[in-house]
Structures are given as C-alpha cells and as structure tokens.
Amino acid sequence: MDALRGTGPTARDVPLPLRRLLRRVRWAVARRRALDWMVQTTAVAAGASLVVTLLRTVVALDLSGLAVLAGGLGAALLAWLAGLLLPVGDAVAVARWADRWLGLRERTSTALELVAGRTRRTTLAGRTLEDATEAARHVDVAAAFPRRTPPGTRRAAVLVAAAVAAAVVLPGITVPGTPAHRVAEQIRREGRRLEEAARRLEQRARTERIPEARRAAPEVRDVARRLQQERVTRPEALARLGALEARLEQARRQVQERLEERGALRPPPDVPADLFRPQHRLERQVRQLRELAARLAQTPEGEQPRGDLLQRLGELAQGGEGELPAEARRRVEEARRQAERGDVVGAGQALTEALQELEGLEALTADEEALRQAQRQVAASAERIAQGPGAAPEEESPQAARVDPPARAPGGERAAPRGEGGAEPAEGPHEGVQPGRGSVEEKLGAPTRRLDAARARSRVRGQEGTGDVQSGELVGPARLTRVRTPLVRVTAAVVRRADAYLARVRVPADRRAAVRRYFERLAQR
C-alpha cells in the first residue's frame, strides 16, 4: 500500500478483501521469488565450484572448490532471505501480479489505480471497485500459487552433486606437464626433503641425547610422509607446515627458557650478542673443567694441588657475568676451597658436579640448536612451496642440503643411492662422461653449489691430563675453502667404478658433496 501514500488516498481507501488479497499475493510472490533466487544462486555457485576444482588440476590455485561451494551456498541462503524480505513492488505492481496469476482480468489493478487516482474516475468507477472486491473475496490464492519446485532445481542439484564429488575426488590430481602438476611434484619433493631432515634430527637427538628434538622428530617425519603420500594441495601443505613450525617453535622456546633460567645464554661483555655462540662457550668450558679435573686427579691425596691449578680454579670461580653459569661457578669455587684444604677427592667431586651441570646445559643448547635447525628447514620448505615451482633450490640453507649416507635396507642390503632430500640422484658427471650420450654441459645442467660443509667440533687428541692445554674460541664466519684434491684425467671406466663404489660405500654426508664436486670438475677438464 506504500504506493498509495502521497497520492491522496491511503491504504484505508482500499477495501479490506482487496488489501488482504494483495498481502497474500505479495507473500506468495516473495516466497516463490526467494526460492527461485536461491536455486539460481546455488546453481551458479556449484558451477563455479566445479570450474575451480577442474582448474586446479591444471593451474595451481589456492582457492578450494569446496570453499567456493560453501561460499556459494551461503550466498544462496542470503539470496533466499533477500527474496523473502525485499519488496516485490508497490501495491499496484502486486495487484498486477494478482490479476495475472489469479485470472482476475485486471480488476484488482484497475481498482487500485482508481483508488490511487492514477486512472480517471468515471461513473463506473464505483462498480469497478465493487467488482474487484467481490472477485477478491472468492479467489483461491493457494491454488493460484501452489507450492512448486523452482525451475532449475534438478540442474542445481546435479551441479552441487558434481561439485561435491569433484571437490572430494579431484584435489591433488593434476594433469602432467601443467603448473598444478609441478606444484604437486614440488610438495612431494619438499616432503622427501623434510623426511630426510627428520631422520637427521632423530639421529642427532639419539646421539646427543636431546629430548625435545627427539620428541619433535617423529612429528616432522609424519608431516613429511603425509606430504609425500597424500594428495595435498598447496594451501593444505602450507597449513601443515605452518602448524609444524609453530610446534617446533614452541618446543624451542621451552628449551630456550630453561637455558635462560640457568644463565647459559648470557654473552660475555666483550662479545656482541649476535656473534655469541653459547654452545661453543660451553664446549670450551667443559674442556677446561675436564682438563682441570684430570690434573686434580693426578694430585696425591692430602697434598695441596699445584699453584697454577688453584689459580685457574680461582679464575674460573671468580669469573663475572658471561663466564661460567652460576651453579657451575659455585661448584668450581667449592672445588677450589676443598683443594686448598687438601681435600682432593672432595674437590674432584665438586668439579664433576660442575661438569655435569655444564654438560646438561650443553645438551640443552644442542637441543635448542637442533630444533632451530629443523624449524628453519620446515620454514624453507614452506617458503619454496609458497613461491611455487619456480623457486630456485639454491636458496635452501646449507644445512638442509646436507645429506646423510643411505640407510640400510631391511633386507640388509644397502638402499639404492639417493640424491639430495631423498630424491633419485640428479644427473651427474657419471652420466655426462658416458660415451655417445651428449656433451658434458648438457648433462650437467646448472653448476652445483659451492662446498659448504658444516662446522665440525674439533677435539684435541692425546692423553688427557698431560701438558698445558690452551683452548679458545674463534668467533667469526667460517672460512670458505676449495677442494684441493688434485684433478687427474681419468677414463670413463674409472668414473663408472667410482660411481658404483660411491653407491655402495658409506660416504660421510659432509664429504659427499666434495666428492661429487671433484668429479664435476674432472668432467669439465
């Protein structure tokens, strides 16, 4: 009746049966329109979802077909609500609908226009109103607007079913040679890399008895295997890697807090914080204490140790912030006092306790370092997956590139040689030198990375407790060196034998790259 306002007459001028009829028709039209809109929106959404799902077999889209479908269904719900709530038109428009659907032969709309003053009133105007009112009394709106299935419902249902089926079945399936396939391959490759990293992490955790890293390693391995075995889309892979990284970060923070509580992370005053390596300092301190403990053990019972030993103990005990952690310092001080009293056994006991404290801290730092390294590898994998197949593998960290020797297969034989990250070995010099197989440059492809072996701990070999041992920490970047093995031209048969040997023999991970580099340089000559 809103259309009638402002034109003189109001809704009250419209006879009650007509008003009632218009209200019912308005509601029926809105209901029918809402269903139509909902079905149409659903069909469009399902079609879009299907297209997205199909596109994902070819193009690396981060949009999921199910997400599109869910969004579309939400939009369909909104469309339904909008269809119900939005006005279907003014009263005259509704009257025209009523005439049309109820077969009233323009009685209602003419009567309403007469009331609204849109049509000139004639002597028959009153009769027209009466006629329309009488007709409105006897119409059956429910019969004129029966509940019906909106047109296109079957098509929409088929599209939704197809979209759901496609969204369930197709994700992860890619057409070979397409960008999507390359992304899937990359995810699997990163899964292999991570599995290798998890294996190394577990090995290190076992060797160095670092509990948090040992707990984290299976999780890393599990995620890595899932990335390889399941049909994982890029967003899913990134989500899993993100969760894993967060888990590693949490574990590392716990370890870090414990280290901070025990004062192992305070750098010495003369070392910048960014160059401070607590693990190296702890190693040095452990060596010093072991040396002192060995010398102390050589002192006969009841005698006072040599003056330089007492002085050294005193220096360690008096060291300021950034030197020995507080507990270890206290033990060393106790050892010094007991040594001064001639209680060599008590002093040795105190030194042993200090050593245990330091070794515990050493294990914690190793734990923290291992977790940090695993975290970096996970982040690097996630970054490469996010960047897509175009991301250069050279960007990975040197630690990630390190490859351990092939594991022993269950049958006792050595597993087949594997390349970096567990992949099949890349085409290398052993193929490039095969006679009749093309030039070396073609086979080699891009040059390999420079040799960047991890820094290894150095220990002084010899008999413990003999002579004065001075040890110190050299802080700074590692020096880059080149392989100095002389290059000698060898025959293809020799290269083949070398390859076969490399495949059989256990070559340390940090040497494998050097060997490979040797053969590559050899091939270039």
Partner: protein, 327 residues
Amino acid sequence: MTPETFLETFERLRREVQRVIVGHEALIEEVLIAMLAGGHVLLEGVPGLGKTLLVRTLAQTLDLRYSRIQFTPDLMPADIIGTNVVMQDAAGRRFFDFQRGPIFSQIVLADEINRATPKTQSALLEAMQEHAVTAAGVHYPLEEPFFVLATQNPIEMEGTYPLPEAQVDRFLFKLRVAFPTPRDLVTILDRTTGPAVPTPARVATAADVLAMQALAREVTVASHVKEYVARLVRATHPEADGAASMARRYLRYGASPRGAQALLLAGKVRALVHGRTNVAFEDLRALALPALRHRLILNFEGEAEGIDPDDVVRNVLEEVPELGARV
C-alpha cells in the same frame, strides 16, 4: 443505462441476429461491438456468405433507418450524398432543394465498396469520420447513431478499386466472413428453404444504442492496459523500438493512432459484454486482429511472399508482453 441493461440489450440483439444468421457467432459479436463503439465495419468475404443479410438483419433488430448502396464503377458521389435539384413552388418560383442521398440513414450498407471509383469511395470519408456531409457548401449532420457497414469481395479483383489507406483507416474493424461449417450450412438450408423464413424482432432503439455507446466510454481502463495498447500499436511500426520481428521484416508502415483508439474503444465494449467495467488484456488480444489487420501496410517483401497481415498481428501479440518490464 447500467452495465446490466447494457448486457441484457446486447444479448437480445445477438439472439435476434442469430435467429436469422446461422453460425458466425464471433462475427456477429464483433459487428455489434463495433457498432456500440461508434465505429464502422468493413466486411470481407466471398459472395453468398450472408454479409448483406447480416447488415439488413441488424438494421431490423435496431429500429434504425437503413439504406443500401450498391457500389458500381459508374456510381458518383452525388449518388451517395445527394444533390441540389431545381424545384418549383406553388407560386411558380424556382429554388434549389437538396435531395438527400442514401447516406442519410443510420445503418448504411456499402455493398461491394471496392467496385466504385476512389472519388466515389472518398465521398464516404466525411460521413464516416464526422458523421456529417457537406453539399454545395452546406453542412448536413447525419442522424445518430450512424453506422457504415461496407462489404468487399477479396477474390474478384478485376474492375475494382482497392480502398485507399485513409479510407480503410476509418473503419473500426475489418472482419473476415468465413465459409460456414457443414453443420451451419445444413442449418442455413433448413432455415432458408423451408416454408417460413425467420424474421427478427426489433429489440432496441436508436436511443438505446446511443446510451450503450455512452456507457461504453465510461468503462475504466488501468494505466498499464493503456500502455499495452500503445506498445501493441507501436510494435507494428518497423522502425520503432520494440517492433515485432515480422513487422520489421514485412511492414512498410504500421497501425495509426486511430488503430489504438479503435482497439481500446472496442475493448471497453467487449468488457461490458463480458460483465466487467474495466478493460482487460484479454479484451485487447481478442480484438487486435479486426482492429489492426487493415491498418498494416505490407512492404515489397511482404507482398511478394504473400504475408497475411493477420500473421503479423499475431506475431505482435506474441512478442509484446502484457506487463512490460516493470513487473
């Protein structure tokens, strides 16, 4: 007059005509509608279908003065309108006296109108449009109601003069008289070859007809119904926006505004005939063919392909939505 008496009178008229004319229910209704709308009718059909009988029967039922003009090639305008004749009174003085022609009737049957020359045909123009004639500078109004029913034979074209567009446009309806069905034909034989020929009774007067015409003009028309009429007529114009596809292809010119007037006025009468006081879309659809078919001018392609204007009107009805784009 009320709508009820209108309907009652109309039904009586129809019944009386149908006592004589067998079948042709739609034709009879359309002739009556045209008459009550104040328009003229062009009846087209082969000889012997009862066109003349229909007009004569109608005149008998209405108690109106009736005249029949048989159009021939040598018929002159003065033969229709009338002429000044030199007369002499009792004193021997001579004077001109206007002798009224057959047009001075209330129902005029212009039989085989296309046999007369255009000059003679056009003598009807003023009478049909103005309901008056002018002779020797003197204006003579015709007695109301004035109703021309013209007939023409669509087959026998030799020696005929097709009606000019301006003349055709003045007919409210052009009705096609179809051949009777076998059953109707049997009834015709029964009625016309027996001992007694039915004679219609007079059931309405001129005053009744005028009152009915006046009441028809009071019928209410909603704005969107009027818009529909306008869109229908506009869709017959090939150059107009919203022109129907057949109109674009086969028409040179569409219906005139007089066609829209004819359609709406006839629609009002039909609404009353069907017991309503408002015009519905169905009234317009039912009357679109007789009201528009003679107002469409085919182009060369239409003529060459033998397009029937009725097909164009049907195409217009199919392509023009009743409610337009607003609802």
